[in-house]
């Protein structure tokens, strides 16, 4: 007697669980019950589990009966002629989806040759153990899973042709590659997933060598001519938007060029690109501080006496302007309404991004690096045929990471590029390395992919033969232009008087706890104080009661609000944060009394 559960709920028992489970499976294969159902029998707990819920991980397998695959040559031919489609296979019970628990009951063969009578299923292709983007990594069976995973992640961050309708879309933080290419070394999935319609990289010449040290620690050296030919060139799009919000009391925001009387009016120059409707005109080149959408809002607090106060009845400036360190060209302006019926203006800004030092590049094998230097073509090493590499990748990145697929792609890419064809690099099912090498040899190159290189700066022959070839390289969306940040002086927080945080707010770079420890460990006491001086204030303290006193600037003297004018008041240098803490303690009824020592 075995218990039967549906989605974890007990529904009854069966006498003969194995037979029952088999029967249910047969009915699923003959489409009598939904194919989304999975059933499994657990011998240890003697339970039959039926799963119907959403969100289970399932994968397709070919059904095997008596050691023979149900998917015959005949069906395959029909599939090729488009007489059958995928869903037909499932309906006919030739292919079924198993979830993780039903998989426990299955005995899956990896290939058709190894099928025996005991087998219940056959793997469609070993490739389907990978995700979509992982199966795009060529020769992945030659590399550690962590690196393959990294390569899969890299492809998701690649700048490419992400959608064809990008000119009419407003996306936040996207880039479009100017000259995307289809990779020379592909996998089967490229055709299936139509990756050629939205490529995200370029085929370039890569040399694996150390050159002047600018590619150490995952750096890459880029050929300046390659950039000028258009390698890695992309556009960065960012929206700026403003909405005419409605406030209580019939007050509304207004998108227009702000009046000079408006509170917080910038300088006139900042509004120079705005047209009469208060919106910038397309193709104007904006820099930091320039207003993109002019907007004014009603005064913030409208209550009590303020209504009679003329000064406060002035509207507030709330324009959208270019932030610190930003620049670009206005690409597209859109005026619509949002869900609440408010006027909504969206402006798309475009910025040409030419690769520069600090931009990130990666191959498809988890080998990512940052541009260390851009060398003129004349300084790049060259082969006997006069070819200069577009990217120089460091050989020190290879042994510890063991990305053999990276090396294989290079030789495959070279062969493909020279013979003018695509190379199949499908994982577990790629063109054999030997064949590629032979083909390379027949094309008049050294079969191991190396070539004699000449130092571009001295003209001398390099002693070692350099491994050089073609690879599909991706430009990743992390660009220095979006990350570069520094600060000397700048905005501070109102509450603590300490510098603001983060690049967007032009914030300070924090000297943290451990950094502080370093100063203390070195005994650099006064330097430590200087570093933490950002919120330094001088506070008058009453020596009588030990609280903060008041300095009267008009009378040029200090007095204590508690003890009056006849007490000794001394100026003390404190961090403002501590003064704030004293205030907070006072607000809680704790009396924090400062007892001052003699000054000398």
């Amino acid at each position: 007697m075995s218990e039967v559960y549906i989605d974890g709920k007990f529904i009854g028992t069966v006498e003969n669980p194995e037979e029952f489970v088999q029967q249910v499976r047969e009915e699923r294969r003959s489409s009598k019950i939904p194919d989304g159902l999975n059933i499994s029998y657990n011998k240890v707990s003697d339970e039959v589990q039926i799963e119907l819920s959403n969100g289970r991980a399932r994968r397709p397998l070919i059904v095997v009966k008596d050691g023979k695959s149900l998917l015959t040559e005949d069906t395959l031919k029909k599939l090729q002629k488009n007489e059958l489609v995928w869903s037909d296979l499932i309906k006919q019970g030739l292919v079924e989806y198993l979830d993780t628990s039903e998989e426990e009951n299955a005995y899956v063969a990896f290939s058709e040759e190894e099928l025996t009578k005991e087998h219940t299923h056959l793997e469609i292709t070993p490739l389907d153990m990978f995700s979509l983007s992982t199966s795009l990594v060529p020769f992945a069976n030659h590399t550690l899973s962590t690196r393959v995973h990294g390569g899969s992640k890299s492809q998701k961050q690649a700048v490419g042709f992400y959608t064809a309708n990008f000119p009419v879309r407003i996306d936040t933080d996207v880039s479009v590659l100017h000259n995307p290419q289809v990779p020379v070394v592909q996998s089967m999935v490229y055709d299936i997933s139509e990756s050629d319609k939205h490529p995200a990289g370029q085929n370039i010449v890569v040399a694996i060598l150390s050159y002047e040290g600018y590619n150490m620690e995952d750096g890459v050296i880029i050929n300046k001519s390659a950039i000028e030919y258009g390698m890695g060139r992309s556009s960065y799009f960012r929206p700026a938007s403003a909405e005419e919000l409605r406030y209580s009391g019939g007050l509304v925001d207004e998108i227009s060029i702000p009046d000079k009387e408006v509170k917080g009016y910038r300088i006139e120059k900042d509004y120079r690109f705005l047209e009469d409707d208060g919106i910038i005109h397309p193709e104007s080149k904006v820099k930091e501080g320039d207003v993109v959408i002019g907007k004014t809002s009603p005064p913030r607090f409208l209550s009590g006496m303020d209504e009679y106060n003329l000064a406060s009845n002035v509207r507030r400036e709330s324009s959208i302007a270019m932030k610190h360190g930003e620049q670009g060209t206005v690409d597209f302006v859109m005026i619509t309404e949002n869900e609440e019926g408010n006027k909504l203006v969206q402006v798309r800004l475009r910025d040409l991004r030419i690769p520069e030092i600090g931009d990130k590049f990666a191959s498809r094998h988890g080998q990512k690096g940052v541009v260390g230097i851009i060398l003129p073509e004349t300084d790049m090493p060259f082969t006997a045929r006069g070819v200069t590499p577009d990217i120089i990748f460091s050989p020190h990145g290879i042994p510890s990471r063991m990305t053999v697929s990276h090396l294989l792609e290079l030789i495959a890419g070279k062969t493909g590029a020279l013979s003018g064809r695509y190379v199949d690099g499908t994982t577990f099912n790629s063109e054999p390395e030997e064949a590629l090498r032979e083909e390379l040899l027949s094309l008049g190159f050294r079969e191991d992919g190396t070539e004699t290189l000449y130092n571009g700066m001295t003209g001398r022959v390099m002693k070692a033969k350099i491994y050089i070839g073609d690879m599909y390289y991706l430009r990743l969306k992390h660009m220095v232009a979006n990350k570069l940040h520094s600060r000397a002086r700048g905005p501070i927080q109102l509450l603590t008087r300490q510098p603001t945080e983060g690049r967007a707010k032009e914030g300070g770079l924090r000297l943290g706890e451990m950094e502080k420890d370093c100063f203390v460990a070195h005994g650099a006491s006064l330097l430590l104080k200087e570093r933490f001086d950002s919120d330094r204030t001088i506070v008058p303290i009453c020596e009588e009661c030990g609280l903060v006193a008041v300095y009267d600037r008009f009378k040029n003297r200090s007095y204590c609000p508690m003890c009056g004018e006849d007490t000794e008041v001394s100026n003390v240098e404190l961090s403002y944060a501590f003064k704030l803490m004293l205030d907070e303690l006072k607000s809680m009824g704790v009396y924090p009394r400062l007892e001052l020592k003699e000054k000398y």
Binding site: K516, D517, V520, A521, H522, G523, A524, S525, L526, L527, L528, K529, F532, D533, D535, R536, E573, L574, S575, A577, F578, M581, L585, V590, Y591, E595, Y600
Partner: protein, 376 residues
């Protein structure tokens, strides 16, 4: 020589003077000797810590940084005769926190001469191991009808332990109150002295009590393992009882150690505890293949033991005893400390580092230490 010794008595530690004396060549002129003392003093002063050096913080960083490289997984051995011991980071945390109850208490018992050569070692080990009634029993069962507990003895184990059955009977009747005990062919029948209303539940409780009844050996020593180490037999135990083990004649009390620092404090005093903290922490660090100067660990150990008790570096231990309110508040649970300080009207003299960082004053270490005094 004698003059010089007197001259340098306050300048150099005794041990160093002794060392100089011991390693002197036979013929030394007076000027040479003077020069030797002068240079040794110079070297000694150079190697001393400068005033205002932040030794504590440097110790913390010197232990903390390599600590990040420590592997978290303890290696467990596939062998049978090996015990699983807490090592690595968890062990260091355990020591530094000054835990009352450590995860794997252990002892290494060194033995006197005939035993250390392996003679009668098994018997000795069994003598040290604490034996519970449960260990001697083959079966423990409740007779529901008679409301008695039937105990079947394991004769083999009894022979191993070397205890007479009469002694067992005696210990049981002494150890548990209001029972009658009757000897049978292969064990005992234990019957609670009738009050007429025994429930099965109570009988069950009695059974559990009997199970854990201590018969012979040394309490808390759960397992013993004689091992040969460096040509000498020692007994490694799991579970500690330093006090009782020390009383045994067969062992070498000068080398026998426990890894429970709190226990060492109780039995042997703080100095021993201080040294064992150093040893235990250093053992872990060496084990992990790290290289930390012992002086840093000594610093930590000194701090933990300076009150005469072993105190952990926690808010209940050593940090909780800091004089400064602000320093305590900046470590953990600030509200609690500020509140108590307010109630008690505590003062903070701003003498250590954190308070001065908070107030943006120069911290009194390193360059912040010297101050000027003015002549009036």
């Amino acid at each position: 020589m004698q003059e010089l010794k007197k001259e340098y008595k306050d300048l150099l530690p005794e041990k160093i003077i002794q060392e100089i004396e011991d390693s002197l060549p036979e013929k030394v002129s007076k000027t040479q000797l003077k020069e030797i003392f002068k240079r040794v003093l110079e070297e000694y002063e150079n190697s001393q810590v400068d005033p205002g050096e932040s030794v504590g913080l440097i110790a913390a960083e010197s232990i903390g940084e390599p600590g990040t490289q420590m592997t978290l997984n303890t290696f467990h051995f596939a062998g049978v005769a090996e015990m699983n011991v807490t090592t690595g980071l968890p062990r260091i945390i355990e020591i530094v926190d000054g835990r009352e109850k450590i995860k794997t208490p252990m002892m290494e018992i060194f033995l006197q001469k005939p035993y250390s050569e392996g003679e009668k070692i098994k018997e000795l080990a069994m003598k040290i191991k604490s034996t519970l009634l449960e260990d001697l029993a083959k079966e423990f069962s409740i007779n529901i009808g008679e409301l008695t507990i039937e105990l079947q003895l394991d004769r083999e184990v009894i022979k191993q332990v070397g205890i007479r059955e009469e002694t067992i009977q005696k210990t049981i009747s002494q150890g548990v109150k209001s029972i009658t005990i009757k000897k049978t062919e292969d064990g005992f029948i234990i019957r609670p002295r009738a009050k007429g209303n025994e429930s099965l539940n109570e009988l069950y409780k009695l059974k559990e009590k009997l199970r854990a009844l201590f018969i012979t050996g040394i309490k808390n020593i759960q397992q013993v393992l004689p091992v040969k180490r460096k040509g000498e037999w020692i007994i490694v135990t799991s579970g500690t009882n330093l006090k009782d083990v020390m009383k045994l004649k067969e062992i070498d009390p000068t080398r026998t150690i426990s890894n429970d620092i709190k226990e060492i404090r109780k039995v042997l005093g703080v100095e021993a505890a201080r040294q064992s903290i150093i040893n235990e922490v250093y053992k872990v660090i060496e084990d992990q293949g790290l290289n930390i100067n012992v002086r840093h660990i000594m610093m930590v150990s000194d701090t933990m033991c300076m009150t005469g008790e072993v105190k952990g570096i926690t808010r209940y231990g050593i940090v909780g005893e800091k004089a400064s309110v602000l320093a305590r508040a900046s470590f953990e649970t600030p509200i609690k400390h500020l509140l108590n300080a307010a109630i008690q009207g505590e003062e903070d003299h701003l003498i250590s580092v954190i308070e001065n960082v908070m107030l943006n004053q120069p911290v009194p270490t390193g360059t912040g230490l010297p101050t000027l005094k003015m002549k009036r």
